[in-house]
Subunit: 587 residues, 2 copies
């Protein structure tokens, strides 16, 4: 199947769901002028459709291989990466003084969705690289910035995020990799697992951002420091020089994203890898969270891209496959399966959810941009709150949805869906990583409930929900109004549980996140549908496209949003107690 | 992981959910005496745990290969099959006069779950073989029975179900394989795809049951006849003789069940395969449906076994993996992840659903047995109605649930879940076939709505639902009572849609099936919990086990059953119209 970059849908979501004008009014009018955006998205579509997408199957078949300590990416990968970096794509969201293009993250994330729709195993490398560059921008010394940032921004070098150890996954406090001073610099020693693109042949250098423990540092996450550890130590002029003491020991054999090398990395086997402290000692987790929050949003965007690809494949198959007759048609004429109501239901379920996922992810990106760029400090604070609430929702809900959508898309293919040749099985396998990495979705739910909702007694969450309520009232949208009310009940219950017994809150954290995101998705679609309705009144409007937005929002409100009510009812009427009262023997 | 056959759980489901006493009272007391059942299940557990389960990973790694026209199964497969057939397991549900053990299907299905939990790619062969033997028992002439049945019953030969063609999947009416008379017998010619175990090296002969079209037969399914087409034509003494004109052209490369050969079969390339008519000409679909209904129930049972394996793996991992600290524990002590409320929620979700799946599947099997064996003809009719309603629900709901449960189980493993070495990724891949084959779940939903519910204006369905209502009332079970009421509303809506516009009924057929099964699952668990409550009063009762049944039923009622209400609300308030009003551009 040939992937088509959903530019119209993305542009609609940017303008009418996320609301790009807010950012224009905050001083970004120049970088967001429609002609420039046309050019950006058209060029992205060309690269995605013509270069990245055709390599998606090859990547799965060949995978990346470890040969004599070097990871060899699949055929064509390196040329594709050169096109990507050479086209200036990696530099999109970075400041001009660092060699960037100065576009808002909102646009960079919208473009990232296209890369992931085309070829997600490839695009993971840029995803992490941009997050790494963002971290270096914000936390590294001027000297480190000068030496590393231009190369990371341009994509000439890539960044890797080196956190996990066998005993330290969700719990980074258990990290054992240690670092010690050695003159001007540091040395570090330890093993890390699950390091995505920790080693590869796409670029001449790889910059590892490694969490490690310094001597006498306190236990737990607050004893961790962050180190920049390059594969090759650059000379003063930026040429990669001496090989550093780090190596890829092995690659994991995974369910999916075969072309993305998942490395077991050994640092300092020969005396210690040369490393440079980023930020203050023992405050590495703070800096790492900058990178992680960026990557979490990125993974939500990745999931949206994967889901889009899956839906396109299912749509194309359904429009082609002839099987059975239309219900109620006595003529005996064969039908395309897209004519069957149950298939339409599946396709519409995918589409409505994807538009909601996209709308939410881009809203989160917009909030991040506004939190940095808006002239009003109070508004910046509010947007940061919104970004904080939305990030775990986007990460968890979009990724769970991507898995469900990939499964539905596979189902539309019938027996062919289970055959690897068709390609949809790969999408199903690839999608499955997204609820796991960058913090499992369970961790996202804990983050939402205990930090983002709990830290201010629910004030930020309540404000967020009130906005949906106001929208529902304004649009006289009864389904949305109902589910907002249910969400408020669930929030009240949750806040009292946080006081009474935090374990109860933990027991419903995942359902609560899903509830929030399901309602937020309904709200964002309703907002888009209202905009589409207004646009329909304009002459020369794209009627079919706009009516489709309205139809998707209606389907979501009728068929998907009711799920919110059942989740809220479970939360408020005893699901937590039923969970916690069960003994181990019931599990 | 070492799979443990869940004998206690299965025995509990047999006695207290399905209700084995009904069958004892219908004259099966002898074959169902508890000591005999102890012996059967203990022996099954030994074979499953010691022989089949250790081959599960090997099967995935090696897969079955086509070499010079012969399918070679993985190492150890053949010896395992000899143990299976040699132990008399294949003969379990067949009549003594055919060489069988004369046990009810209910017991055979309960045992089948254990095979699938241990090694589902292996156990597909017996699943289809038993369905084929059942078909031959009921439709073949005395002569064919005499020649083929003893071998199929014993498992010395296996049966294959040969239906699908490239243009004829869900729509069997499009089958083009043709058959023509040739003296006493028939010849047939055509290609079939997706033929599970159509060729293999486990037995000396394979009996293909092939749907084909005879000359001048009417178009559609009513022009199809069923043919027994052996790989080797047996002599009068039953020794496989001349090779028949059929061959395996290629094997599909699949997402999962790698060891189960999925064959492209060519029949009659050299003049026509010798074939024997089963049943009457042009009435093949009727006979095939016997086999398919058996296999559909079998696939629901398979899904239960796969889900059980997944849950056991997740449970074992959670009890071992140390990560993070308990919520509210300030001591800094590390915790096993099974102590985290969100992990408990996941494990309990799996367990509660599996017990409901098992209860439903065994209830369906019991209804089938009672429909054949009960002395009262009116009761037989009622039980057949119940079996007809339950079969599509068991097939679709249990298989969708297995996919969701395998995904949850993978999630409990965190990053390790995505690594093939851990084994849970295989379960996730293997599970995904079950919603597809033996009629996609969409087809099951059409079958439920248009045939099983629609054919008598909803009378049978209403009776079925009333039983849940009576149970809810008797147990004073408010959650169940609520969702039964919601289900009744949805049924009323559906029945009027069937009158008004069947496409509307089609658009909500899948949600309606899920609604029915979700409520039925709640009812069966409530029944089990009530029995557990009574048993607790007995001295020396297995308190921990019984309390766990009650805890699972409670969790289901609180956390899972509310889903029924949201589905019912979607069905009754406009999901169908929202689906059908959307144009192709919205999909």
């Amino acid at each position: 199947m040939s992937y088509r970059a959903p530019i119209k849908e993305i542009r609609f979501a940017l303008e009418h769901m996320a609301g790009l004008n807010e950012l224009r009014q905050a001083g970004e009018a120049e970088s967001l002028n429609p002609e420039l955006l046309d050019a950006v998205f058209d060029a992205a579509a060309r690269l995605a459709e013509d270069v990245l997408s055709p390599l998606e199957r090859v990547g799965d078949r060949e995978g990346s291989r470890l040969e004599n300590g070097v990871v060899v990416t699949p055929a064509g990968w390196r040329e594709a990466y050169e096109r990507y970096a050479g086209g200036g794509w990696n530099a999109l969201p970075f400041a001009a003084e660092d060699g960037g293009q100065g576009l808002p993250w909102t646009i960079a994330m919208a473009v990232q969705e296209i890369w992931h729709g085309a070829n997600t195993a490839f695009s993971l490398c840029p995803l992490l690289n941009q997050a790494a560059a963002e971290l270096v921008t914000r936390y590294a010394t001027q000297e480190l910035r000068a030496r590393y940032l231009p190369k990371l921004v341009s994509g000439e070098w890539t960044g890797a995020m080196s956190l996990t150890e066998p005993q330290a996954g969700s719990d980074l406090g258990a990290i054992r990799t240690r670092a010690w001073r050695d003159g001007e610099t540091w040395r570090l020693q330890g093993q890390k697992i699950f390091i995505t693109y920790g080693e590869h042949d796409l670029t001449e250098n790889i910059v590892h951002l490694v969490l490690a423990r310094t001597p006498n540092a306190p236990a737990g996450t607050h004893g961790l420091s962050l180190f920049l550890t390059p594969k090759f130590l650059p000379d003063t002029d930026g040429t990669p020089g001496e090989r550093n003491d780090l190596r890829c020991v092995s690659l994991e054999e995974k369910l999916g994203i075969h072309a993305s090398p998942t490395c077991l990395m050994a640092y300092g086997d020969n005396g210690g890898a040369t490393a440079f402290l980023i930020g203050e000692e023992s405050r590495g987790i703070e800096a790492m969270f900058t990178m992680m929050n960026n990557a979490r949003l990125g993974v939500g965007v990745q999931a949206t891209g994967i889901a889009e690809r899956a839906a396109q494949m299912a749509r194309a198959y359904a429009a082609e496959r002839v099987q059975g007759r239309e219900i109620g048609d006595a003529s005996g004429k064969s039908a395309k399966i897209i004519q069957h109501p149950d298939i339409r239901r599946m396709l519409l379920t995918m589409r409505a959810r994807i538009e909601a996922m996209r709308g939410l992810a881009l809203s989160a990106a917009l909030a991040i941009d506004l939190a940095r760029r808006h002239p009003d400090p109070e508004r910046r604070r509010l947007e940061q709150e919104r970004a904080d609430l939305l990030t775990p929702m986007v990460k968890a809900w979009c990724t769970d949805s991507a898995v469900e959508i990939a499964s539905l898309a596979l189902q539309v293919h019938g027996g062919m869906g289970f055959i690897e040749e068709t390609g949809i099985a790969q999408v199903y396998r690839d999608a499955r990583i997204t609820p796991i990495y960058e913090g499992t979705n369970g961790i996202q739910a804990q983050d939402l409930v205990f930090r983002k909702v709990g830290r201010d007694g629910g004030a930020a969450a309540r404000g967020f929900i009130h906005e949906f309520g106001a929208l529902a009232k304004e649009l006289q949208h009864n389904e949305l109004r109902n589910s907002v009310a249910e969400l408020e009940h669930a929030l009240d219950w949750l806040l009292s549980a946080l006081q009474r017994n935090p374990r109860e809150a933990g027991a419903v954290s995942t359902p609560f996140l899903r509830l929030c995101a399901t309602v937020a998705g309904g709200a964002i679609l309703a907002k888009g549908a209202a905009a589409a309705q207004s646009l329909l009144a304009q002459p020369e409007s794209d009627r079919g496209f706009l009516q489709a937005r309205i139809a998707q929002a209606r389907f979501y409100a009728q068929a998907i949003l009711p799920e919110a009510n059942s989740i809220a009812s479970a939360i408020t009427t005893g699901a937590a107690a039923a969970t916690l009262d069960a003994t181990d023997e019931a599990l």
